[in-house]
């Protein structure tokens, strides 16, 4: 995990509006410069999961034959 510090995070609130904004970290709390979001890494990871819930087909493989029938 020596590279863990290199993982950046985008604001989950701005991202849910399709905007990429990097969060800044201070004392374990990540905050957004564009909106008022602030939270812990665990909260942010959970929010990313929530964002992905709309992608019902994220784990679905549609082959060429599947798509012809779709």
């Amino acid at each position: 995990m020596s590279d863990h510090h290199r993982i950046t995070k985008r604001c989950p609130v701005c991202f849910s509006r399709d905007i990429d904004v990097l969060l800044t970290q201070r004392d374990g709390i990540w905050a957004c410069v564009k909106c008022s979001f602030n939270g812990t890494e665990a909260e942010i990871r959970g929010m990313y999961r929530d964002i992905q819930k709309k992608y019902h087909g994220m784990i679905e493989r549609y082959t060429l034959e599947d798509q012809r029938k779709l």
Partner: protein, 579 residues
């Protein structure tokens, strides 16, 4: 058969990544097109490696204009990386510098050149300096407003309204497919990446594309599990069913295969997904389903195999959200049309290439940064179906019975069949079911025929409880390039019957022209050099027609033709766009 280009750009700062990309493709038995920037041309080892790749694997060496830095160049570009955003004098200086250095190093001009976009003056100057150029990466399909927003209003690449596949760029507007040799800029352009033809219309085009790390940026992956990357390849393969062939490319820069601020994953995830994508290409190649080419090889194939005027279609089926919505795209040298099957077959985007709008970008042009081909309908930026107050640009069929209206945009359909030939395309939708408050239902089957010359024929067959139904073909349009309205002064509305023509200049007063037994209703739209006209096809007799202006809270024009279904339950309307 899918034609594939794999593109790589050199990068002195991340050279090991570039080499690993090259090795990966070669280990899978495929070739790449390697694009060197101006500053790369000063690095002997990069030049030597490129020549070795060319000798050993048949890779192509081309020029990248994506970054404009290096000896003598920095004083001109001053940090601006995008060739289409300079004035003509600087475009020429920069390209002369890069191309003459390329020639010094390799003893020849490049035949393949990349940028995110080439506007008409950049491409003209490129061809003046290097007539040898045959293939370019010339634009990012539907990149514009949404990526501008998505990058916190800081990414100034506006090139919407272009083809999704390879095309012959016209001289006057490089995003318009040329109609014939005189009109042609002299190169074959391919798009920068293949985009998702559902989601790049609904949202950001960069997330959903033939670029695995960009899908990570869109959060479409679960770590290194991302079937979407392969689904998109197969969706493009499916288009060969209609067009006889299909094209794909991938172009992953080195910055996407290391720590990247637009990814919450370590680099190995990006590598794994990139490897899976390339491995799938290899598998398809082994099955005889795919051919990998360099950009110049592709350009030559395109010139030999594709007539200028050949229409192309794309049937998009949305997969990531599992909405399974269908979108139907048609492009020819006169029109680009998007039909939204989920909205009953409404036209959701319309570009009247027949108007031959000319455009260059740069500080010395009135367009400045916006290189888009203007729309006549854009239902995402310009409201479309009403959700708040008024509706916006779109088409629909409105059915009225006893004063109750059903708008066909509220009735989802699917694409039932697609046929395409040199003469145009024909698309049939599954029947739309309109339910009225009294419980009665009417089914509408819609057939679109789109022919070169700007001619769209919409045939409606109504069945069920059709008694007393008035059916109105409805076109609401507005010219523009972004999500904001532009000045509509200059538009002229027209209605015509057997006795003559009534005309009205657009003054934002929401006035209307009405006519019984109309011959046609029309709008002359000088902003896109086009006239939009609706008339009944042979045999159909509309009972009334209307042309209406809007106001500053509803900046559109409306055209309507109304049919009384007591006369006939089947009628066809011609939507004709002329210059």
């Amino acid at each position: 058969m899918m034609k594939l280009n794999i593109f790589h750009r050199t990068d002195p700062g991340r050279y090991e990544i570039f080499k690993r990309q090259q090795d990966l493709v070669h280990s899978l038995g495929m070739k790449t097109s390697v694009f060197l920037h101006y500053f790369d041309l000063f690095q002997d080892h990069i030049v030597a490696d490129a020549l070795a790749y060319q000798a050993a694997f048949g890779d192509e060496i081309g020029l990248a204009l994506n970054r404009l830095e290096g000896p003598g160049m920095d004083d001109i570009s001053r940090g601006l990386e995008h060739i289409w955003l300079f004035d003509e004098e600087q475009k020429r200086q920069l390209m002369e510098m890069a191309l003459s250095k390329f020639k010094d190093v390799f003893g020849r001009m490049p035949t393949a050149v990349t940028s995110y976009h080439f506007d008409s003056s950049a491409l003209r100057i490129l061809k003046e300096i290097a007539p040898e150029v045959e293939g370019i990466v010339g634009g990012c399909f539907e990149e514009g407003v949404r990526v501008f927003h998505g990058c916190n209003h800081s990414w100034y690449l506006f090139n919407e309204g272009m083809p999704w596949g390879p095309w012959f760029p016209a001289k006057g507007h490089t995003l318009r497919p040329a109609a014939e040799t005189e009109d042609w800029s002299g190169v074959v352009a391919v798009p920068h990446l293949a985009r998702d033809m559902s989601l790049s219309f609904e949202g950001r085009n960069d997330f959903w594309a033939s670029h695995p790390p960009n899908v990570i940026r869109g959060m479409g992956n679960d770590a290194s599990f991302c079937p979407y990357d392969l689904n998109l390849i197969d969706q493009y393969r499916m288009q060969a069913d209609f067009n006889g062939h299909t094209y794909y490319n991938t172009f992953v820069g080195t910055q996407w295969l290391t720590w990247n601020h637009n990814s919450e994953y370590p680099p190995e995830v990006a590598w794994e997904l990139y490897t899976k994508q390339l491995t799938y290409f290899k598998q398809l190649k082994e099955q005889g389903e795919l051919e990998d080419l360099t950009l110049t090889e592709y350009a030559r194939w395109h010139k030999e195999s594709r007539p200028f005027a050949e229409p192309e279609v794309y049937l998009a089926k949305e997969m990531l959200y599992q909405s399974h919505k269908h979108y139907f795209w048609h492009i020819d040298t006169d029109l680009r049309v998007l039909i939204d099957a989920n909205q009953g077959g409404s036209i959701g985007d319309l570009r009247a290439y027949i108007g031959r709008v000319e455009k260059a970008t740069g500080p010395d042009t009135p367009s400045r940064e916006n290189g888009a081909y203007p729309y006549l309908i854009q239902s995402q930026y310009r409201t479309g179906y009403p959700n708040h107050s008024f509706d916006g640009s779109r088409t629909t069929l409105k059915l009225v019975k006893n004063g109750e209206e059903v708008d066909l945009c509220s009735t989802p359909t699917k694409v039932a069949s697609v046929e395409r030939s040199s003469a145009g395309s024909r698309m049939v939708l599954t029947p739309a079911k309109a339910v009225f408050p009294d419980g009665s239902t009417v089914e509408v089957e819609t057939t679109y025929t789109i022919e070169p010359g700007g001619k769209i024929t919409i045939k409606r067959s109504l069945s069920g409880d059709t008694e007393g139904i008035l059916a109105t073909e409805y076109f609401k349009g507005a010219p523009g390039c972004t999500e904001y309205p532009i000045d509509l002064h200059g538009i002229q509305l027209q209605v015509m019957d057997a006795t003559g023509t009534q005309e009205m200049d657009y003054l934002y007063r929401r006035r209307r022209l009405e006519v019984d037994a109309p011959e046609c209703v029309a709008a002359v739209v000088p902003q896109v050099n086009a006239r939009v006209m609706m008339s009944a096809a042979k045999g159909a007799k509309p009972s009334s027609g209307l042309a209406r202006e809007g106001n500053l809270f509803e900046p559109y024009f409306v055209l309507e033709l109304t049919y009384d279904t007591n006369t006939s339950t089947e009628f066809s309307t011609c939507l004709i766009i002329t210059a």
